[in-house]
């Protein structure tokens, strides 16, 4: 903490390791941040219904995966947490048979009527997920309004990524990657659908940035995001020019991607630092200066620069020297000189300053812990992970090391029930635990609309802050009702593209109502439930017969009761904790 100064010591210390000791004066943003962390503190371990600490394999499969598929808990128990974490941190795409089969065989309907002016014919086909092997030159023309193309074709790349995301979450062996890709999508949130057609037409490229960098280096990651088509258009960096800087990206870069609102000084007089040190937080002046430092960072989309230069329309990143403001500036109390050899040096220097900043480490690590541990993660684990982050600022596997220290911390293993699943996790974990078969008969829309109705449609959060990651936001009537409905309606066969065969999963030696109930409790939850709940489940299945007898009724009746038994386990509070 060499940047500590007498001018800002209170602010600095309280921001850094003392979140339990909030400063006396807090901004609105501070209050908001604190609300997020205390939102769940009311549920102490003494609240009725609070879960006991489950076995480590349950914790691991619930928080660094989208819940266990049958066999996962045994596997992790046998190999041990450390080996499982290390395996997950180094995914091998070729070793992912279930997901690859699904992705290769998936078809998703696309249909539209003919263009009234005859520019394209009507179409109705079952199309594979072709964008997996396509690139910018395929996507870019789809987003251009000058091209007369059916809307369904323009948005197809986004729809395919939604489909892929769902299939990977349910079937991929590399669950931690999926969890962290979701995390980074929220951290670098872009509304994929409602801002600009160039965003959804090229969405696979943005998704690939998450997949390439989730366990890499934050500085590299940040520059990839800054230069991406999606972020460029979402937060207007594409039109940030010396003749009229657009501060949108510069603000969110600091407030949401790096320093966090907790390090925003509304009062510039409170942000005075000794010469040569880096400011602990940012002011309005930093927003303005960072915007200027990033002028000229743009995307080639046919803009006219001057009478002798019009950019091609390619979608490629382009630094436009003519739009760059080269003035010397002060950013985060550091002097940023005019460019000399590298014309992009000012923007890069901004990213360097942020990526190496201790409060950036703390802000991002805290968010990672909030995802991987709980809404109010222990300060001790944040400290350890921040130290690893800062020691590895230049390491290509910086984020891998940070994730590792979090997952192998005692705090990870000692914490459970500080958070509930979000709708996407909940529905995916239900599909995993029940070995649901997501068919490829042309749907694709069904399963992600399931999650959308619950309030978490993929890549549709409108604001740059991303889907909230505290249970206080999600524990609401709509999210619960729609999520429960996904379970009850799906198990009743309401969705043709989601089918189950639960009865066939029961081993031959599991025959009585008692045994069947215990089998499914263990399979779905990996731990026991209260005796009241177990009795309720057994009573339902035995339907008046002995609990130690085979469930009575016709095959169809018993099958229905078994499906509904599984539904009851999945709507339990126990299935929501993480």
């Amino acid at each position: 903490m060499s940047t500590a100064s007498t001018f800002s010591r209170r602010r600095l210390l309280s921001n850094f390791f003392g979140s339990e000791n909030p400063p006396a004066e807090t901004s609105a943003e501070d209050n908001k941040a604190q609300e997020e962390t205390v939102a769940t503190a009311t549920a102490g371990p003494k609240a009725t219904g609070f879960p006991d600490l489950p076995p480590i394999e349950v914790i691991a499969m619930t928080r660094m995966a989208y819940g266990p598929r049958p066999g996962d808990l045994d596997r992790v128990r046998v190999m041990g947490l450390t080996a499982y974490v290390d395996e997950q941190l180094a995914p091998n795409d070729n070793d992912d048979p279930d997901a690859l089969t699904r992705l290769n065989n998936q078809v998703m309907r696309i249909n539209y009527s003919a263009d009234p002016d005859g520019a394209y014919p009507a179409l109705d086909e079952l199309r594979p997920l072709n964008t997996r092997t396509q690139g910018l030159t395929d996507f870019w023309p789809l987003g251009l309004q000058a091209n007369t193309i059916a809307f369904q074709e323009r948005i197809r790349p986004l729809e395919e990524i939604r489909n892929e995301t769902f299939l990977r979450a349910v079937y991929s062996k590399w669950q931690l990657r999926e969890v962290m890709v979701e995390f980074w999508h929220a951290h670098f949130n872009v509304d994929a659908q409602r801002v600009d057609s160039r965003i959804y037409a090229t969405w696979p490229l943005y998704d690939r940035i998450m997949r390439a960098n989730w366990n890499g280096n934050f500085r590299v990651f940040l520059e990839e995001i800054t230069k991406s088509i999606a972020m460029m258009y979402y937060l207007n960096l594409v039109s940030n020019r010396n003749t009229g800087p657009n501060e949108n990206y510069a603000r969110e870069l600091q407030e949401l991607h790096t320093l966090g609102a907790e390090n925003y000084y509304t009062d510039p007089n409170a942000a005075r630092f000794p010469p040569g040190t880096t400011a602990t937080g940012y002011t309005e002046a930093d927003v303005k200066e960072i915007a200027k430092a990033l002028t000229g960072w743009s995307i080639e989309s046919g803009q006219r620069v001057n009478s002798s230069l019009t950019l091609p329309s390619t979608g490629l990143f382009r630094f436009v020297t003519q739009w760059n403001d080269t003035g010397v500036r002060k950013i985060l109390n550091q002097t940023v000189p005019s460019p000399t050899t590298d014309p992009m040096s000012q923007g890069k220097r901004v990213l360097d300053l942020l990526a190496g900043h201790p409060n950036v480490a703390k802000y991002v690590v805290t968010k990672m812990c909030r995802r991987l541990i709980g809404d109010n993660p222990p300060t001790s684990v944040i400290k350890k992970a921040v130290a690893v982050w800062l020691q590895n600022v230049n390491a290509p596997d910086q984020l891998k090391k940070v994730i590792r220290v979090i997952l192998l911390s005692p705090e990870f293993a000692a914490t459970f029930g500080q958070k509930t699943k979000r709708p996407f996790e909940y529905t995916v974990s239900f599909l995993r635990a029940t070995e649901a078969n997501l068919s490829n008969t042309g749907g694709g829309y069904t399963y992600y609309s399931l999650v959308g109705e619950a309030g978490q449609p993929l890549f549709l959060w409108p604001s740059p802050n991303g889907y909230p990651d505290v249970q206080g936001f999600w524990l609401n009537t709509n999210s619960l009702r729609a999520s429960w409905r996904n379970v009850t309606a799906a198990l009743a066969g309401s969705y043709s593209t989601v089918t189950f065969d639960l009865r066939s999963k029961i081993p031959a030696n599991v025959t009585t109502s008692n045994q069947i109930v215990d089998f499914f409790i263990n399979r779905l939850l990996g731990r026991t439930v209260t005796s009241d709940i177990r009795t309720n489940l057994v009573d339902y299945l035995r339907n008046g017969a002995s609990a130690d007898a085979v469930p009575p009724g016709t095959t169809a009746e018993v099958t229905t009761r078994i499906n509904r038994l599984v539904g009851r386990i999945c709507v339990l509070p126990d299935f929501w904790w993480r």
């Binding site: 609240a47 219904g49 509930t420 009537t477 009702r481 309606a489 309401s494 509070p573």
Partner: protein
Amino acid sequence: MTLSRREFVIGSSLTAAYFAGMGTQISSVAFGQTAPQRDILVVLFLRGAMDGLNFCSPVNDPNYIAARPNLRMRSDGTTPALPLANPIGNGVDFRLHPSGQPLLDLYTSTNLAIVHASGLTVPNRSHFDAQALMEGGNPNARQQTGWLTRYLTTIGGQSGVVPSMTASSNLPGALTGSGSSIAIPSLSGFSLPGDSTIFTPMQAYYTGTTPLHSAGTTALNALQTVNAALNRPPTGGTIPTYAPEGGAVYAQAESQSGTLGSALITIARIIKMEVGLQVATLDVGNWDTHNNQGTTTGTFANNVDSLARNLMAFHNDMVRYRQKVTLVVMSEFGRRFTENTSGGTDHGRANVMLVLGGNVNGGRMYGNWPGLAANVLDGGDLAVTTDYRQVLAEIIMRRGLNPQLNTVFPQLGAYQPLGVVKGTDQPVV
């Protein structure tokens, strides 16, 4: 799925048990015995930027006539626009779009007020940004919560069974951060279908005191209460056909999900259930008329027709609730003053707001008409002379009985009510 007699009986008995067990909570919420008599706020957002200049048009303004040679409303011809009494401006002949006759009737009966030249005080012609800023409640900076969320928070109004809802599929920006808001795009889907036996056990599963258990109980109560009012169990079934009151005829049927008529019917039904509703929102799109906007017929005219007939229907349907409901219509910005070459209009600045209800000082226009001369335009478009938030602030102050304007609308500045609605002002907090 039809409702069997057996399921109906189960539903009824569940309802009885529910009211027996939870009577205190429900009666206070349902009938508002303890809550102040604040209005239910209904916020209708016209997504895509409605052309206020062709909705409520200064038909005799020579600048208007010049800027829209093809695409303007007229005082003559076969389908003249409808003259408005008590206009603003000096000698401006303001007329309502000819497809808006039901709105003129509401205006004449003083239930409808029109505010012109309102909008964001900071120019922004991006749908996305402008909607986010407008619904965030601060034109100067993005907010993490919506203005309606903060309205609800400051009235402590998040405790009813259905304190706030949207009749769209997703919560609007104005309700961002409101965990208690419920999206009910259709009432028929507001259930837990698939297992008619699951509901009672679920109530037992969620009897704990953690936030998860509490939220689960709240959700189950909402399912039970709303579905009881629909005479079906919370596990689904057909819902009774809705019979609007007051001779109301909505322009679309409830079953036409996604339409304005269907959404307003959903809201009307929930208002009549008396389940603690404080805020309802709904969206209607298709206002982004860059091409082939039309004049007295076509896209825009059809939109106005649907809007006018549905608002009239809602007003009639609310015959027993008129004094308790205030509805406001808004849009992110108006459209470009000068028509484009595609028979449409591009993105502009100021726009019209409508305020409808039994406590509206209707029958007149409000605002400060800036005129359309070149030197008073804002970037070529109708200038904003009324901060849209002043209209909303007055509504939440006088009809919402909530003086906490500085929280709901950060950086509002001085509260300057236009007198659009009846009620009294308190000191601003």
